[in-house]
């Protein structure tokens, strides 16, 4: 059975589907060939990402709004796998060097930057970005507002950020995540209240993504506490 494509879709877009599938498979094959030539583990790990791009091309080739919703989990899976494997690689190399007692810093935050602009600009920039992010809402807005909060944290590092703020922020992120889930559930359970669900999801996601910056603050806290002592 041939699934009818709506008339509003231009025939050019429809004819692009088969070339896009071949492109995706070809990208994957090129990635596999590159992996076959490489002998160093770190290069292999980086090259597997190319195969992941091939996967994204194939999912994106479908071209509907559902495909757009499927790209995001695909991307997240790619990221999660590459993170897991790189952790594994690091732990293996540390075992080989027998440096198990030493810890490796995740983000080397304490940079000694004593510039005047870092005293004055952060508040202004953070407020502008957070307000603009709230206006955008959703995932994009969360990223924008998160960038604002992150900029504030990173530039205030030299003076020290109180740790309660960051623990509170990351706890709030967890609670807000539930809001997003409830909003998502409303779509399925009670579709009549879609407006409420949409706003719960949009602003839950906005606050959640923005506060994820708080987690980086929590990790960074250990660093600058040690630096100050």
């Amino acid at each position: 059975m041939v699934v009818p494509v709506p008339d509003v879709v231009s025939p050019v877009v429809v004819s692009l589907y088969i070339p896009a599938i071949f492109t995706g498979l070809l990208v994957g094959l090129i990635g596999l060939m590159a992996i076959a030539y490489q002998k160093r583990d770190i290069h292999i790990l980086i090259l597997t990402d190319i195969v992941g791009y091939g996967m994204l091309v194939m999912v994106a080739a479908v071209g509907t709004d559902l495909a757009e919703a499927l790209i995001l989990p695909g991307l997240v899976v790619e990221l999660a796998e590459i993170l897991a494997i790189s952790e594994l690689l690091m732990s293996r190399e540390m075992r080989k060097l027998d440096k198990t007692t030493e810890t490796v810093e995740l983000i080397p935050v304490p940079i000694n930057l004593n510039m005047e602009i870092l005293e004055t600009a952060p508040v202004f920039f953070a407020i502008i970005l957070v307000i603009y992010g709230a206006f955008l809402s959703g995932f994009t807005g969360g990223a924008v507002a998160g960038a604002g909060i992150l900029f504030y944290v990173l530039s205030k590092v030299t003076r020290g950020v109180p740790q309660n703020i960051w623990e509170g922020l990351s706890a709030t992120a967890g609670v807000i995540w539930c809001l997003w889930l409830i909003g998502f559930l409303i779509f399925f359970v009670a579709p009549d209240y879609w407006m409420l669900g949409l706003f719960l999801a949009a602003f839950g996601l906005f606050i959640e993504v923005a506060y994820k910056a708080g987690l980086i603050g929590v990790i960074g806290r250990e660093e600058f506490k040690r630096e100050k002592e």
Partner: protein, 225 residues
Amino acid sequence: MDITTLGGQLLGIIPLGDIVLYVTTFNLFMFAAALVFTVLIAMSKTEKQVEAEFGTLNDREKKVGKDEFKVRRFLSIICGLATAGAMITGDLFNFTLFVTLIGIVNIGIVSAVKEVDVLDSAFQYGIIAMLATLPLFGGAALILAATGTLSMFEIVNIPSTAMMIFGSILLFIGVAGESGVAPFFATKAEMFRTAGSPFLVIIHLSSLLVIVRAIEVILLISKPF
């Protein structure tokens, strides 16, 4: 292939908007089996490997530290839940996502072991699992493009086309790579050779259950008989 031919009695459907979950005897049994095993694993403690040393009276003991034990137990429970989810889900893309989650968690379970050889083979398995996402998601996307839906309850009623069969072959290659069966088993078998047995068993069990369910899914999509 009908749902009832493969899965026994159709016990009911759970309509959630576009996604219609269906519950058959087969799905329900596999789901319950995965959950029971997860509960058993959540309550168990790890084994200790003790070997007698040759020529002396000493024993060589391999223990799992408390932190490592906690992380492993957590990841094993996640792996069990993901397996149970893959058994019961009626959505093709959710199935692929559960399968990849199992792959990631399998790497996580062995990521903190002390043996370099085991870490080496886990790295190789991880590379294969990452490469397998291309046929896995690609196959699901092809089936979505060919049928216009991801709900298996709907796909069953659509006669299979060449594109759907190609998609289901890709899907099977993806599941095989992700769960480490037939052509890709060599590295995965090496992953078990470390202490901490009951948590390592879930790696094995999840791939067994997933492959059974994957065959059901592929038969539902490609309808060869």
